[in-house]
């Protein structure tokens, strides 16, 4: 297996500008850029809770170098090659001051910042961050005369479409929620900006393939977290209920759910950049993701729930099943609309060196879940149902 973050730098010393540098994808991307390019990385970040942008980014990267088991010399690279400038994508030109603009001139942009919320009640915030925010990053890139704009979107802009998914413009009518809608709108902002742009579409990003470390609490981890909370709610209702109650869940039993380790995503992303890949759509997905049924059963059992009945529709569901379904509705579209993402545009550029994800069939998948559950239970704030 190829190891992420470990290659000798191959590209010239172009500056890279990254938004979302404290987020899951953005932070891993910065480390990959440090490992595989020679240029400066400019991270645009907000101050937060008594921490300056610089402190936030540097602390995040330092933790990830340990968490991902990366070479320790990256600590020095963070100190010497990462420049953090204050900014906020919700402001015009991200609020970057004129004094900082020379740092960005001619830089390649990586727009990773995004809201991963998906509920309709958060729609305004989601669109402000994902659509308006993208507009501001695009403004900044144009002012900076950026030669290439990489936008991290999601493969699930395909919405409710099933089967083979080509890397192309999606149909906004097929979206499952306002998150997917916002990402399509953001893609449109980028594509109509006049910038050279790559639309990078990871699937559901999970932890590092070697250490399973993750700073994400969304996607797979949100599903597991909600199952765990459902278990706790059942136990609050009746002691012992979680392990005895027969629960049904709607899934496509033959399909797969595309989960891809974070190192695969950033390795392919930086690989495309280093290879000078043309503007276009790129699926940063996994060639061998787990089957939906295996993933669901594994998540239930690891969450302390009885193995569920897998059903193809909601007609026979009980009232309690529907309550669970309500809690995991966002994740449902991943379980009932299996997709095979076309990676040919990535493989055409990267050839043999394309990462193609990680084999997640069988036990391999469960290790990611176990890592997360250990972390979740370790920091649990669960309140006992007092008697």
């Amino acid at each position: 297996m190829q190891q992420s973050f470990s290659r000798v730098p191959v590209r010239r010393a172009r500056t890279h500008v990254v938004t979302g540098g404290t987020g899951f994808v953005g932070s891993a991307l910065i480390l990959e850029l440090l490992a595989r390019t020679e240029g400066t990385v400019v991270a645009i970040a907000r101050p937060k809770a008594d921490h300056s942008p610089k402190e936030r980014v540097e602390q995040t990267l330092a933790e990830l170098i340990e968490g991902y088991g990366l070479p320790s010399h990256l600590h020095e690279a963070v100190t010497t090659r990462v420049i953090v400038i204050p900014g906020d994508i919700e402001q015009v030109s991200c609020g970057v001051t004129a004094a900082s603009m020379p740092l960005l001139r001619g830089a390649e942009f990586w727009h990773c910042a995004a809201s991963l919320q998906y509920m309709d009640r958060h729609r305004e915030q989601i669109e402000r961050t994902n659509v308006l925010g993208t507009t501001h990053v695009v403004q900044l890139a144009r002012r900076s005369q950026s030669p290439m704009f990489n936008m991290v979107s999601t493969a699930y802009v395909a919405g409710s479409r099933r089967g083979d998914i080509p890397a192309e413009q999606p149909d906004i009518e097929l979206v499952n929620n306002c998150y997917e809608r916002s990402k399509i709108m953001a893609e449109e902002v980028v594509l109509t900006s006049g910038l050279n742009a790559r639309i990078l579409r990871p699937s559901i990003v999970i932890g590092h393939s070697r250490t399973h470390h993750s700073t994400s609490t969304d996607g797979l981890y949100g599903f597991i977290r909600n199952l765990t909370k459902f278990r706790n709610a059942l136990e609050r209702t009746q002691v012992g209920l979680a392990s005895t109650l027969d629960v049904s869940i709607e899934v496509h039993t033959e399909g797969r759910v595309d989960l891809v380790p974070i190192d695969s995503v950033v390795e392919d992303a930086v690989g495309l950049s280093n290879a000078g890949a043309a503007p276009g759509y790129y699926h940063l997905t996994n060639s061998t993701p787990p089957f939906v049924k295996d993933a669901v059963i594994g998540c239930f059992e690891l969450s302390g729930l009885a193995a569920p009945h897998l059903v193809s529709n909601r007609d026979t569901m009980s009232e309690v099943d529907l309550k669970l379904q309500q809690r995991i509705d966002f994740y449902s579209s991943y379980l009932i609309n299996p997709k095979r993402f076309d990676r040919s545009s990535v493989e055409a550029v990267l050839g043999e060196s394309a990462r193609s994800g990680t084999d997640l069939e069988g036990e391999a998948f469960l290790e990611y879940c176990t890592w997360f559950l250990d972390k979740l239970e370790g920091g649990s704030r669960k309140l006992a149902a007092v008697r």
Binding site: Q117, Y118, M119, D120, R121, H122, G222, R225, N226, K229, F230, N232, A233, L234, R236, T237, Q238, V239, L241, L245, S318, E319, V320, L322, K323, Q326, R327, D329, S380, R381, K382, L383, A385, V386, R387
Partner: protein, 354 residues
């Protein structure tokens, strides 16, 4: 005649209110209602009603009288349980600040001017020396009985099976009456009752948020709330959102079964001679015999006028669960099954349940 304390416990929505009304007809018995329902804020803040260690009279009065957040929120939005009988038109308290014992207990004792009794009790209790909470409760109930010329007090709070362990510890000398009702009807009633809906809703919110939204302003996990749970957070709460909250009867059936199973386990600590289990259905179908059993058990005089007045309180209500659709009936029955199984172990059966 006995002056032994009596505690009535049940899951709630099980007919204990009727039993309380029957007790109230007896000239020697003081019926004390809903103290533990409301001091625990509908069973969600049990520890505050049973603090550890000695507390002063003023601190104990605080337990009895500090308005509780869930009840205050409900009342502020016009959501009043039938158990709340405070006469708003005559009293000084507002819906957002009604003390727990003013929701039901004090107005039951003095329906005309409960505020006066409240103030008298406050003045008296606040003078008490420090003591453990069980000593305070015992004195409080005994003094009330004396004040109203009764020999014996009978405390009955809806849903008190949830705190039965605490009650048995606090009143080891008490006669305990456990009233049970067909779980299907109980669960169906819970699913429509403001108090149970609030308690179960809050339980879900706590699990999804990782904090009690009434105790903490942290909302880190707010995105994990479904819309119906988000819309009923204290800061978003509306009566309409609360009424929209979908609480299926079968979920209440699981809750009922859990309460029965754990309640029966806790009641094993009560000596058999101190425990009487009554079926609500017997109270309705055979009130005279059932009330006579109750009277004999607690040591009250079994007076014919009491039996007649008690029987007159009974309304002929048919079970409501058969009105559900067949699949809903079946799901409800399955949910209740562990509770029925546990009750069968102690000799209680329902003729129309397998």
């Amino acid at each position: 005649m006995s002056n032994r304390p009596v505690i009535v416990v049940g899951t709630g929505r099980c007919g204990s209110t009727l039993l309380s009304q029957m007790v109230r007809q007896h000239p020697d018995l003081l019926s004390v209602s809903e103290v533990f329902s409301f001091t625990t804020d509908l069973g969600t803040r049990i520890e505050r009603a049973f603090p550890v260690g000695a507390l002063s009279g003023a601190e104990f009065w605080n337990v009895l009288s500090s308005p509780q957040p869930r009840q205050s929120l409900l009342l502020t939005h016009g959501l009043q349980m039938p158990e709340v009988i405070y006469p708003w038109e005559r009293g000084r308290f507002e819906p957002g600040g009604l003390p727990p014992i003013m929701q039901g207990m004090v107005p039951h004792l003095d329906g005309l001017d409960p505020d006066v009794l409240f103030d008298e009790l406050a003045a008296e209790v606040c003078r008490w020396d420090a003591a453990p909470v069980d000593v305070h409760y015992r004195r409080f109930f005994s003094d009330l009985a004396a004040r109203f010329g009764k020999r014996q007090w009978v405390e009955r709070s809806g849903g008190s099976l949830r705190v039965v362990e605490r009650l048995v510890e606090a009143f080891p000398e008490a006669a305990v009456v456990h009233i049970v009702r067909d779980g299907r009807d109980t669960a169906l009633s819970m699913s429509q009752h403001i108090g149970f809906r609030m308690a179960i809703l809050c339980g879900f919110q706590i699990e999804q948020l990782g904090v009690d939204p009434f105790e903490s302003s942290e909302r880190t996990d707010e995105a994990d709330l479904s819309d119906e749970l988000a819309d009923t957070l204290p800061e978003n709460f509306t009566a309409e959102a609360f009424e929209r909250f979908d609480l299926p009867p079968s979920l209440c059936g699981h809750y009922w079964a859990g309460e029965i199973v754990s309640g029966l386990t806790a009641l094993e600590k009560v000596p058999p001679e101190s425990l009487l289990t009554l079926r609500y259905e017997d109270l309705v179908c055979a009130p005279v015999d059932t009330v006579a059993r109750l009277g004999s058990f607690i040591g009250a005089e079994v007076r014919s006028d009491w039996l007649a007045e008690s029987a007159a309180l009974v309304r002929n209500e048919r079970p409501r669960w058969p009105k559900l659709g067949i699949s809903q009936q079946e799901e409800l029955a399955r949910a209740c099954q562990p509770g029925f199984d546990a009750l069968r172990e102690v000799g209680l059966r329902w003729s129309n349940h397998p």
